[in-house]
């Protein structure tokens, strides 16, 4: 049996591409008005809770300030991202990937379990076939269950054309400018995960290869 299902591998790489384009075009969009507010409105820098730095060209798509082109990329990549997220959740529930590998038990949340995960990692990574440790389950669950959906929902909430579909969504998120702030913060939380994820994967190149080929699941 493959360690990673085809649906997981397909989604992983399509989503990786979409997220990179969304993040870098998003930084270009941020440069248009680098101030963040809470509540429904906000336009005066004096009311901002955060003055965001201007992101340099090497970090943005396109590589120079161009709001229209950045929005084109953002609007395009939103499709594989949004549809992909719906797809992977359907696939994870259908092929039991979620229940088998990601769903946590109460015992996973105890300090002892978390300590054991980190110790196992320090001692040389997880044993092949042992499945995800509690820290991995919690982190993957946080990304798939909270951060990525929140990215999608806050993105929809700040679109005025979507607002009549679900005005309650904008209110739930604390108003449009709050939704915009959450969109920004969640993007950076995902970036944080991305950095850790890449560093750990580079430390063991086999993991990257397995996300392409599927690898082999050790007999349980």
């Amino acid at each position: 049996m493959k360690k990673h299902a085809l649906s997981t591998r397909l989604w992983h790489w399509i989503n990786a591409g979409a997220i990179i384009v969304l993040f870098m075009s998003g930084l270009n969009i941020s440069n248009a008005h680098p101030y963040l507010y809470w509540g429904d409105y906000g336009f005066a820098p004096g009311d901002a809770w955060l003055k965001v730095v201007k992101f340099p060209g090497w970090a943005t798509i396109p590589g120079h300030y161009n709001l229209a082109a950045a929005r084109d990329w953002h609007i395009l990549a939103a499709w594989p991202f949004g549809l992909g997220l719906a797809f992977i959740w359907a696939a994870m529930l259908a092929n039991r990937h979620f229940r088998r590998d990601l769903a946590t038990r109460p015992s996973d949340w105890t300090p002892a379990a978390l300590r054991a995960s980190l110790q196992a990692h320090r001692a040389g990574g997880h044993a092949a076939g042992a499945g995800y440790n509690p820290v991995q389950k919690i982190l993957y669950g946080l990304v798939l269950g909270v951060l990525l959906p929140l990215m999608l929902l806050t993105g929809l909430a700040i679109s005025p054309g979507f607002e009549p579909v679900a005005p309650w969504l904008v209110d739930l998120l604390g108003g449009r400018q709050s939704a915009r702030s959450l969109h920004f913060l969640t993007a950076w939380a995902i970036f944080g995960f991305f950095v850790i994820h890449i560093l750990l994967a580079l430390a063991n190149g086999r993991l990257i290869l397995e996300m392409v080929t599927g690898g082999r699941r050790a007999a349980a």
Binding site: A32, H33, D40, Y41, G42, F43, P164, Q177
Partner: protein
């Protein structure tokens, strides 16, 4: 030790990515892919919400203390400045193009029509928002009074302001033109529109971003196609900088 080649590799990949992005965005296929994606969002928004579904309206206490002006904030034209100083006594809003009865309406005539008052949020494409109370007749009333011809498919808004030496204009489709919250506003927060916010008349098309809300209106023109208007992309910012015609995202 392995740091240097790895860093070079990452820089190389980044440069390759940037080059690829630029090539895709400038190619014919890339352009049409972007437009398909944009149209897809419009179709999705329209499919999920009823055509007449309203955006949220706020209470007077929820308005922003001031309302930012952006884009054109003044009009150089001497006729405009003279009219501004005198309260626009000779200003006329034409309703023309594919209509049975072209109209030329004074401010007094517009104010004599049934009025809609709405406190709505204005979202700029840059990211900021302001909330204000707008008053004016619904665009649908003007179109009905002029009797739109069946071949009309878009409404073009003509403006008195120029940017980079070009006249500003915008366009919307008939779904937005007939939306109940699409009004020709003459007042902001109970007072005549200030110059920076589009005096004497501006469009409010609440399900789209700020650049669609054309200011300093001189005419409303019904057309069958946008191809022959400006550079054919449906609006000033669309023509000049490639902004999206559907600004609901």
């Amino acid at each position: 030790m392995v740091d240097l080649p790895r860093r070079t590799l990452i820089a190389g990949i980044a440069a390759l990515g940037a080059g690829a992005c630029a090539r895709i965005a400038e190619s014919e296929t890339g352009r049409s892919l972007m437009r398909v994606a944009e149209e897809g969002h419009r179709a999705l928004h329209r499919a999920l919400a009823a055509r007449q579904a309203l955006v949220r309206e706020y209470a007077p206490s929820e308005r922003s203390p001031t309302f930012r002006g952006n884009g054109s904030v003044t009009v150089a034209d001497p006729f405009y400045q003279d009219q501004l100083a005198r309260g626009f006594p000779d200003w006329r809003l034409e309703v023309r193009g594919l209509v049975e009865t072209p109209l030329a309406l004074s401010l007094a005539a517009l104010k004599a029509l049934p009025q809609r008052r709405q406190i709505t949020r204005h979202d700029c494409v840059e990211g900021w928002s302001a909330i204000g109370e707008w008053t004016g007749p619904q665009l649908s009333r003007l179109l009905d009074a002029a009797r739109l011809k069946p071949e009309a498919r878009f409404i073009v808004l003509r403006c008195a302001d120029t940017l980079y030496g070009r006249p500003y204009y915008e366009s919307i489709d008939l779904v937005d033109a007939y939306h109940p919250q699409t009004i020709i506003a003459h007042s902001l927060n109970g007072a005549p529109l200030p110059e920076q916010n589009g005096a004497p008349l501006r469009l409010r098309v609440e399900r789209q971003l700020g650049y669609k809300h054309a200011k300093y209106l001189t005419a409303i023109e019904a057309v069958a196609s946008l191809d022959a208007i400006g550079e054919g992309r449906g609006g000033f910012w669309e023509d000049v900088a490639g902004y999206q015609w559907y600004a609901g995202i």
